[in-house]
């Protein structure tokens, strides 16, 4: 009989109380209480009842599991699956069934803190946005000689620089930021206003989205 590729089947009428470990694939149609740790694929069939942590290469669940699932490749929950426990794998697909527990998939980071490749790919302008105000004066000063309003208060207030809407990319942000200082300057002193609320906005952007999310979250 083959050794490495043998499939183990825990039949519908079988109840295992203890540890199941080893190589090969495992198909659970019956009940397992204890722990399951195999190198191969684990399939918990509809009607299977597993009160146990399960670890394997690929785990497919169509039955009920009370325990954590950890896979080195993937976890898939299909119609009929009922899982109370954590799911951890590089790839997790839940196409049916119900889950209650912590799920970690992909790189396990979820939404990243900081400029992300998808954002950069979709809209380079957006990613460049935080960079521009934070950039060296040369970048901003060059295109914006014509709007001297904020140049005077150039203690380096990025808000001031950004208020000069010269760079195209900064357009949408500057629309927002430009409004703020303008509105405030109408209400009060211009130099004071420039150092007021706008810096709250800009520093978070200046450091990149990372800073923004840290402060806001």
């Amino acid at each position: 009989m083959a050794t490495r590729d043998a499939v183990t089947v825990i039949g519908r009428g079988t109840h295992v109380r203890g540890k199941v470990a080893g190589d090969g694939d495992l198909e659970i149609q019956g009940r397992v209480d204890g722990s399951v740790a195999v190198d191969g694929d684990v399939t918990i069939e509809q009607g299977g009842l597993v009160a146990s942590d399960v670890s394997g290469r690929r785990i497919v669940v169509r039955g009920a599991v009370k325990g954590d699932l950890t896979a080195t490749e993937s976890i898939a929950l299909e119609e009929g699956a009922r899982v109370v426990g954590d799911l951890r794998a590089p790839r997790v697909a839940i196409v049916g069934g119900l889950v209650r527990g912590y799920v970690q998939s992909g790189d396990g980071q979820g939404a990243p803190r900081g400029a992300v490749k998808s954002a950069a790919v979709a809209r380079p302008a957006v990613a460049a946005k935080p960079a521009v105000p934070a950039a060296k004066p040369a970048v901003v000063a060059a295109p914006a000689p014509s709007a001297p309003r904020a140049v005077q208060a150039s203690n380096g207030s990025p808000a001031a620089r950004a208020a000069q809407p010269a760079p195209q990319q900064v357009a949408h942000v500057s629309r927002e930021r430009a409004e703020a200082p303008r509105a405030i300057s109408l209400a009060g002193g211009a130099p004071a206003a420039k150092q007021g609320p706008p810096p709250q906005v800009v520093p978070s952007l200046k450091k990149g989205a990372k800073g923004a999310l840290k402060k806001k979250a």
Partner: protein, 132 residues
């Protein structure tokens, strides 16, 4: 801070926060919301919420059906189904009537669906806490 003034550019009652738009503040309403841009602030609507691929939200999201295909840092509370697409990057806890997730999604958070395990497996186990 600018409240979201969403424009009706999508059919029906849906509002759209386009890809080039950045919102800082709460987004609330009765209809559906489709988010393609950046939102920092909670999104609380009666209708469906869709976070498109390329969108980035730092928001707690409440709605009926919630579909996440972009980036979301925040919790989701849906009275309907929650769908996490293959391009999604989601960090936060999810509560919904149903939950589905496509292969390829990056997700870190708790999922809470209401259901009972079959007899023979007992009640909820509190074990996950120790893992984290």
């Amino acid at each position: 801070m600018a409240q979201a003034r969403t424009k009706n550019t999508v059919s029906g009652d849906a509002s759209l926060i386009g890809a080039g738009t950045r919102v800082r503040g709460r987004v609330t309403g009765d209809g559906d919301v489709v988010i393609g841009g950046h939102v920092e602030g909670d999104v609380v609507v009666r209708g469906d919420v869709t976070i498109e691929d390329g969108a980035r939200c730092t928001s707690n999201v409440e709605g009926h059906a919630v579909t996440v295909a972009g980036e979301l840092a925040g919790d989701v509370s849906a009275s309907g189904p929650v769908v996490v697409g293959a391009t999604a990057r989601l960090r936060g806890n999810v509560r919904g009537a149903q939950f589905s997730m496509e292969d390829g999604a990056s997700f870190a958070g708790r999922v809470e669906c209401e259901f009972e395990l079959p007899d023979g497996l007992g009640e909820d186990h509190a074990a996950p806490a120790r893992r984290r």
